[in-house]
């Protein structure tokens, strides 16, 4: 190893440029100001407010008549106390598709069946399609892409009895329900109706129930009677990783 000892074991750290404790960082941004001395002054002022002191505008160029782009180097005065760092622990590890496939194969020895639908009058399939379609979302392929997942996407406006029936027929391991419309709390009521129907029809042998939508709060899972709630910005990879985690856990501790 090298002789340099970056802040290993230290509690207080600053960014490292080429000397311990120099606090050097590099950043770039655009201001809606025509290029010129005034724009540079504005960039330096912004840098100072960001805690970069001293700051050097090492590059600037006009983008059209109204904007200027800057590259700034400088030392930040901020210090990070590592004891203050809070890591939000996801209860499951994020797996790449290949590992999801391997894990499913190993624990189930068959394909994991996922049934997805928009229930009630909700016709907004954007969410469920982003998660299920191979096209995917945010650069990640949808669940259809995973060789060891069998995806049945029922589409929009599926009634709860139909969903229960199809889930039973397909021997679903997991049911994904998407709810976008929130008028008069439709998303909450629909989801509660759905989870109640599954409990009634199948009891403890019900599939894993997952609700998703931009207005859901992940802490609502208990109230909704589902196993997991995913909110805005969830990617297919997160859902797939969760499925593996939950199914494996279920197998280990039968309900």
């Amino acid at each position: 190893m090298t002789a340099v000892q970056p802040d290993h074991g230290k509690r207080h750290v600053r960014p490292y440029g080429d000397t311990s404790g120099d606090g050097m960082i590099q950043t770039s941004f655009t201001l809606p100001v025509p290029a010129g001395p005034r724009a540079e002054g504005a960039a330096l002022l912004l840098a100072a407010k960001m805690g970069i002191d001293p700051a050097m505008v090492v590059h600037s160029n006009a983008i059209g008549p109204d904007f200027t782009f800057f590259v700034v180097y400088g030392s930040v005065r901020h210090i990070v106390d590592l004891d203050e760092v809070e890591v939000v622990e996801r209860e499951y590890p994020l797996l790449p598709p290949s590992e999801v496939n391997t894990a499913v194969k190993k624990s189930l020895r068959r394909k994991l069946v996922v049934v997805g639908a928009c229930i009630g009058t909700d016709a907004h399939t954007v969410g469920i399609d982003a998660i299920l379609n191979i096209k995917g979302f945010a650069g990640e392929k949808g669940l259809e892409y995973y060789r060891e997942l069998r995806v049945v996407n029922l589409g929009a406006q599926v009634s709860v009895p139909d969903l229960v029936k199809r889930s039973r027929a397909e021997k679903a391991d997991a049911v994904l329900v998407s709810q976008v419309v929130t008028q008069r709390d439709a998303h909450i009521l629909n989801t509660q109706e759905m989870s109640a129907a599954f409990r009634e029809a199948m009891g403890a042998r019900r599939p894993l129930l997952i609700a998703g939508g931009p207005r859901f709060d992940p802490r609502m899972a208990g109230d909704l009677g589902v196993d997991r709630v995913f909110s805005r910005g969830t990617t297919p990879g997160e859902v797939a990783s969760y499925l593996v985690h939950a199914i494996t856990q279920r197998k280990e501790q039968p309900v």
């Binding site: 782009f69 954007v126 650069g139």
Partner: protein, 524 residues
């Protein structure tokens, strides 16, 4: 000058096989119609606007009318007979009035017979012909503007995407991009629009990761780019997406608003959106006929295969899809110079000699389709969020495009897979392209891969694998091959998928003046 010494016989075999594989599908496309083809016909005939009083929100008038005709007398005879018969019967001036009366439940549609049928057919043909003449005028206007303002000074043309969700912001971004050197502006659509079975109306300001394709948004962007074209002294082209469940309608709207290019793939919707295969093949044939009439360059979507499958292992599936897209396009009347066949720089940069492999694949496409304006797509799959590394990779992508004589270069963004690009990201990306074009634009003259070298051998190998796969597709049938997961790993049986209920087998008496006028190339 050809550099790969491809065997003309192998190339001819590949084309023959593609034609054989496509033939049964073309037959299906000719013998069916879809709700979207019928709606597109009514849009050509002049119906615009939407029913804003419907409880489900704005429902376009074409949807109200086509759905009602389907309920009353079916669509197997085509929508035009019943519609134009009802127009005469109710003594209404315009189709919009007819649509309003339809929504009010005042119209009962039936198949006209005898003299009524002749009269309705004549009126339908006159109305649709008027729409097609607008498309023709737009084409002539484009030619005039290109003659006056000029094409981009060099190849490849620089293609840049904007996608803010708000058409007014898109205009600002697009104007800046054009001033910074973009030759083609593509407005990416809102996530999920491809699965809407209607085209939204009006100017829109709230898309998800893109802006809705609407007739009004098309008009706004085209008008803004006409202004910028005059300012920058070259004709700036505008692109949108004729794909998804409304492919034929969007093709028509693009023709009516003088869009210049359209994303339009023969299989993308099937594979990546789970749209019913028959629906897709019927819709793509009609939409391509419209594109041919409008002089719109289509862009096919082969790049997508490489985002799901491995870009080395699946290289030949790109070639196969290009050959199929070429055949379907020719069959629908599109000439080579409107065929923007796609391919992409998606090989894992950690693979040894990845750049040479990319050159081999890119050159193969170039030499197989010498007259087509090939669309060269940037890396996405191996863009990690390390924007610095991504900038380097995009530089190599640009270099490969220049070295292999690509025609349309989609500008790669270092923010790929991170955020929608900032104004500055776009500016940096264009600087990257400009640098490579200025520094190495003529390098194509000096680039002579060794006759038996790595690049030539690899190209021959991919072409060979493509012929093998085409042989299997011909044996299986294209629809079965799609059902078995041959392309992009997805299994799509012909009787399943979204929009299947909107496919209708044509009756012997089926009539559609749009299809007739497009087939005949007639204007009256």
């Amino acid at each position: 000058m050809p550099l790969l010494d491809l065997d003309p016989e192998v190339v001819a075999t590949a084309r023959d096989l593609a034609a054989k594989a496509a033939a049964p599908v073309v037959e299906i496309a000719r013998s069916h119609t879809t709700v979207s083809v019928e709606r597109a016909t009514l849009r050509l005939a002049g119906i615009t606007g939407a029913d804003s009083t419907h409880r489900a929100g704005d429902v376009p008038w074409v949807n109200r009318v086509v759905d009602t005709v389907a309920d009353h007398c079916g669509l197997e005879h085509g929508v035009c007979g019943p519609v134009f018969h009802a127009l005469a019967e109710h003594n209404l001036e315009t189709l919009t009035e007819l649509a309003e009366a339809t929504a009010a439940g005042q119209v009962s549609y039936k198949i006209p017979t005898g003299r009524d049928a002749v009269r309705a057919a004549r009126a339908a043909r006159a109305a649709v012909a008027k729409g097609l003449r607008t498309v023709d005028r737009n084409r002539a206007q484009r030619d005039k503007l290109v003659a006056k303002l000029g094409d981009p000074p060099r190849r490849p043309w620089i293609y840049l995407i904007v996608a803010t969700g708000d058409i007014d912001e898109d205009v600002v971004q697009a104007a800046n991009a054009a001033r910074a050197g973009a030759d083609i502006i593509a407005v990416i659509r809102s996530t999920g629009q491809s699965l809407l079975d209607y085209v939204p109306e009006g100017a829109t300001h709230h898309g998800f990761a893109g802006t809705y394709a609407t007739q009004e948004n098309f008009r706004i962007m085209r008008a803004a780019m006409d202004e910028v074209s005059r300012e920058v002294g070259r004709y700036v082209r505008v692109t949108n997406y004729a794909s998804g469940l409304c492919m034929p309608e969007i093709a028509v709207l693009g023709g009516l608003q003088r869009l210049d290019m359209m994303l339009n793939d023969s299989m993308y919707g099937i594979l990546f959106r789970d749209i019913n295969p028959i629906r897709t093949f019927v819709d793509q044939r009609f939409s391509r006929q419209v594109h041919a009439r409008a002089g719109i360059i289509i862009n096919t979507g082969e790049d997508n295969y490489l985002t799901t499958a491995d870009a080395v292992d699946a290289a030949h599936t790109v070639t196969v899809s290009q050959l199929l897209n070429e055949h379907f396009a020719h069959e629908a009347g599109l000439p080579d110079d409107l065929l923007g066949l796609g391919h992409a720089f998606e090989i894992n940069p950690k693979v040894p000699e990845s750049f040479r492999l990319e050159l081999a694949h890119a050159l193969l496409a170039r030499e197989l389709f010498p007259a087509a304006p090939l669309k060269w797509m940037p890396p996405t799959k191996h863009m990690t969020g390390d924007v610095f590394n991504g900038y380097l990779l995009d530089g190599f992508f640009n270099l490969a495009g220049v070295l292999t004589g690509q025609s349309i270069l989609l500008v790669g963004m270092m923010t790929e897979a991170v955020v929608t690009p900032f104004l500055s990201d776009r500016d940096l990306a264009l600087a990257n392209v400009r640098y490579v074009l200025d520094a190495a634009g003529g390098l194509v003259e000096d680039f002579r891969p060794a006759p038996d070298g790595f690049i030539a051998k690899r190209a021959h190998q991919v072409l060979g694998e493509a012929v093998d796969l085409l042989n299997r597709v011909v044996d299986d049938g294209l629809l079965n091959a799609i059902a078995d997961g041959t392309f992009g790993l997805m299994k799509r049986p012909p009787d399943q998928g979204k929009g299947a209920d909107g496919v209708i087998a044509k009756a012997d008496t089926y009539a559609n003046p749009a299809v007739d006028l497009l087939d005949e190339g007639a204007t009256r």
